[in-house]
Each structure stands twice: as structure tokens, then as C-alpha cells.
Symmetry: C2
């Protein structure tokens, strides 16, 4: 095996979902990967951590960091971190990209306030210390859930922030999947050997995916549109999706 | 006392230093204050927490939040959070603003990589949940230590990020002190009754301020230039500053 000390470095935000699974696999082809995972009180925290660790192992990351963020648990404000707010089932065909990109009331209840800024801040801090040149995050605009922090303009703004507010100003956030459809991400992942079986997307379940929440619906549709079979188990009731 | 429920809200980053002491006092004149303090492994963590709590009490904040951030303790990279890197004494007259604003090697060893992004991310998340319209931070460009995340361009960039990446996009980061000299901040604080005696700036000591580190030197000079006496205790060796 070739020595890894001369390779460039990248910090990758590894949530454990299908997008970060593909992102980590892709990034590991070019860089030594420093994978960072966050437990922030999300409903399926334990399951996501297990998936992220499994993906990190399968893709051979160089370093792994698991961070706990107390804030979201304490402030609430999202169905993802506040058990008093229900996670809705998928809204069906009218949740297309056009509607999802509008603002305000259309931002779903699973939006966690300014969450990705916390993830990127941690990734950039780590990148400064280890000398990584890029930070990679698997944000997806189309087919996503209408989160304001999943759009290209947000990452452009974050790169301006890094230029202004870091020691050298040269670290870049890359979002290799941001303009892809979920089905294209599945195809890319299958091509490069992404360990999809280790990934997790469901907002509701921890043992088997519910198949009914918005995240499951997007994932199932992506595999179907890619003409592929999703290797993770789903609850029987969702088998017809 | 007038009811506070109809007042607008502001989240204030309250470190416990003299700048955040003035900022909190100033902001409390116009808004209900939600004060947020961070323990991130900084050398004088316990002392700063005590000061921040005392300032919060003295200024009558509406809510107080103390957050622990594990990251900086784990990644190191700063004399402020890594005991293997020494905090230098002040470098003297050649640490003027012009030199301090250059990049790279001139950024001091007490720079904590991308730290303020973590503070602002938490403040903005909280602001979204409680409906605060502004986030206030006591960053100071002139007379500061050359940190890239203490310059106006950084906060302009952060406001672009908020516009792009929050639910409504309307929260603003305000930096009321950013273009002031430290001596002007002292004068402002004395005018509005800022509880300076509760504040803490020293990077080295916890019982009495060392009077020798860069932060102490900047503070002592500010009070001297303002023609005022700093009410906090200093080690005897620094009395001639």
C-alpha cells in the first residue's frame, strides 16, 4: 500500500446518510479523509452514529471524530430534535424542487435552525489544524427537503466567510452532489462502490427504516429511479413504495 | 417595572471580557437580552464563566445559556486551548493595528481556529428559535490582536450567510464596537454603567489578572488612555504598566 503521508487532506461531514456515504467514498479517492460526525439530539442519533462509523471503516478514513452538540437539544425548534413536534409523512408529489426552494413557511418542520453552519464551522476549524485544503459536505439542492442551508448560494456564502475569517483564507467547502438528483447520487455511489448498506436515512426508525417519512420516500424513489435495490431493511408496510 | 414581553429580542455573545461587558449593557438598553457563553477549553474557562454570569446578572438579561464546546479541546492548534503552546507576553509597540491586520504568520498563537463562527452559529440558531432579530458580538478590529474573525469584512460575510441559510434570512449580526478603540469602549462603558468590575480579560491568571499578557496590556492601556482606573485586581508586578 502506498504511504498516505503525502496525500492532501479533506475533512468530510459524515452524517451516515446516503449522500454523505457517497461523498466520503468519492473524497477518499483523492484525499486522506478526516471524517466528522455530529450527535445533536436528532431522533435517530444512535443509529446514525453507527452508520457513520461503519461508513468510515468501509471507506478507510484516516481520522474519525464524533462530536456532541448540546445546543439543539436545549433550544428545540425542529421536529428532528424536539419530540413534541411530529415528523410528518412525505407530502407526495407536490414536494417537488420548485416548491421546496421557496422560503419561510415552506421550510419543513424538520429544518434544524442554522444547523449546517455548526457542522461546517467544526469541519473548518479541524481543517485549519490538520492542514486540510477542503471540507466536503453532501448537501443536495434538488430532491432535498427545501432546507435553506442545502442550496449553492449558502455554500458560496460560506466560502466567502472562510476567506474572511481563517488564518490563511484558503480552505474551500466543496459540495460535489449539490446539483445532482438523488437517483444520480445512487448511480454514482454504485459506480464507485459506496457502502450503501451501512448508510441510514430514516427520520423515524432505528431498527428498520419506516419507509414512510419524507427522507425514506426520497431515498426509495432515488433507488427506484436508478433501477437499483436499496440494500437496507424497510418495515413491511412500506414495501410497495 | 415595564413588562418585557413586547420588547424586541437580541442574542448576545457574552464572553465575560470588557468588550462583551459593554456590548451586553448597551444591548440591554434596547432589547431583551438572551446571553450565551461558551466554555471551549480556554485557559481561564472557569474565571470567564464566573465573570459572564456576573455580567448577565448585573445587566438583567432575560435568559442565560452556557454551552460547552468539545472541539477546540480536542483539536488544539491555539495557545488559548492547548497547554503545550505558551501564551506570549505582549509584543509591545509593534503590535499596532496596521501590523495586526495582515494575514498568515502575523495571526497570533492565541487565535482559535474559526472560533467565532461557532459562537455566531449558536447565537443565530437560538435567535431563530426565540424570534430575536439581532445577534450582538463585541468584536473589535483596532487595538485587537490581529484575529481574522474580528474584522468588519468577516461580519459582512456572516450576514450574507444568514440571509442565504436561515428560515427567514432576516437576523442580523451587529458589532457595535468593531470600529472603536479600546479606550473609547472604556469611555462608552463608563457612560452607560457597564459592570467592568465583573469582567475578565486576562489569558493567564484566574485569581488576579497577570497584567503582562497581550490581553491585559490592551486592557490596561485602554483604561489609562481613557483616564480611568480599571476596577479589577492585577498582580503587583504589573502595577507600573
Amino acid at each position: 500500500m502506498a504511504p498516505t503521508t503525502t496525500r492532501s487532506r479533506a475533512v468530510v461531514c459524515l452524517s451516515g446518510g446516503m449522500d454523505s456515504c457517497v461523498c466520503t467514498t468519492l473524497t477518499a479517492q483523492r484525499h486522506d479523509v478526516y471524517a466528522i460526525h455530529f450527535s445533536y439530539g436528532q431522533r435517530t442519533e444512535t443509529r446514525e452514529l453507527r452508520s457513520a462509523e461503519a461508513i468510515a471503516t468501509a471507506t478507510g478514513v484516516r481520522e474519525w471524530m464524533h462530536l456532541r452538540l448540546d445546543l439543539f437539544r436545549r433550544i428545540g425548534g425542529s421536529a428532528l430534535t424536539d419530540s413534541s413536534i411530529a415528523v410528518p409523512a412525505a407530502a407526495g408529489e407536490d414536494t417537488g424542487p420548485e416548491m421546496q426552494l421557496r422560503r419561510g413557511a415552506e421550510v419543513p418542520v424538520t429544518y434544524v435552525p442554522f444547523r449546517n453552519a455548526h457542522f461546517l464551522a467544526a469541519a473548518v476549524s479541524w481543517a485549519e489544524v490538520v492542514g486540510a485544503e477542503v471540507v466536503v459536505i453532501g448537501a443536495v439542492e434538488q430532491d432535498s427537503s427545501g432546507y435553506p442551508d442545502c442550496r449553492p448560494a449558502y455554500y458560496d456564502a460560506f466560502n466567502r466567510l472562510i476567506e474572511a475569517g481563517t488564518r490563511e483564507g484558503t480552505i474551500r467547502v466543496e459540495t460535489p452532489l449539490i446539483r445532482m438528483r438523488k437517483s444520480e447520487i445512487v448511480r454514482l455511489g454504485l459506480t464507485i462502490g459506496a457502502p450503501f448498506g451501512a448508510s441510514w436515512s430514516c427520520y423515524s426508525g432505528e431498527a428498520v427504516a419506516c419507509g414512510l417519512c419524507e427522507s425514506c420516500q426520497l431515498r426509495l424513489r432515488a433507488f427506484r429511479d436508478a433501477g437499483a435495490i436499496d440494500p437496507i431493511p424497510y418495515a413491511a408496510a412500506s414495501s410497495g413504495v
